[in-house]
Symmetry: C2
Subunit: 126 residues, 2 copies
């Protein structure tokens, strides 16, 4: 049942992130949002092809150009990536990971409040 979400290479992931951000887009739409130095049009097109092959994206060819869209949700992929990291580096323990981050990053007092509220909610939703 657990989704064996395929992993993406760095390049594929970069393009996919833009697609997630835009919700949908043509090759040119995605190209616009690429960091400098911008890749060539065909490079982006290739990555979209690879993403389709891997089942991460799809497209409709409405009129002139292809409109690409995400098939795998960003949340699903994030969950997979984050889950791997959780297992690899924090022995699968959320509390351990939270603890690590809390000491690493400085939290604003607003964030602290939100965090406490969140913790309460988790407890209450028993």
């Amino acid at each position: 049942m657990s989704d064996k979400t395929k992993t993406l290479t760095k390049g594929e992931e970069d393009v996919m992130k833009i697609l997630w951000m835009l919700g949908k887009g043509t090759v040119n739409d995605i190209l616009e949002h690429c960091d400098e130095p911008k890749p060539k049009y065909t490079t982006v097109a290739t990555f979209l092809k690879l993403l389709e092959d891997k089942g991460f994206a799809g497209h409709t060819s409405t009129g002139k150009s292809n409109m690409y869209y995400p098939v795998v949700e960003q949340k699903e992929y994030a969950g997979s990536v984050a889950g791997n990291m959780l297992d690899s580096f924090f022995g699968g323990s959320l509390v351990q990971m939270f603890s690590f981050f809390s000491s690493e990053k400085k939290l604003s007092s607003k964030e602290k409040q939100e965090l406490l509220k969140l913790a309460q909610e988790i407890i209450d939703k028993e």
Copy 2:
């Protein structure tokens, strides 16, 4: 000041994880802990060389064989990897990430308690 920790490739990371786990070890020590199908001795040796080049590992050549050890701490690397993920997928918001994980993973009531305690500590440490 922010540590520009170089990133590791998948293969390098696999070897590095074993080195972190062992604390130190020879090529053979690491080889023993590799997953099946085990790579060749020289493959592991190459990765250790690459890790040294990147500044992640070092070695002393005491007597017969080289003894390798981590130079970069696992926590440091984990922080870097996790920080990237945090920015990429959760807009840099810890609360958002915590929230995501809490709903994804089922937490035992013990974990929930620990989490609440952690949140309290974070708040208190003002």
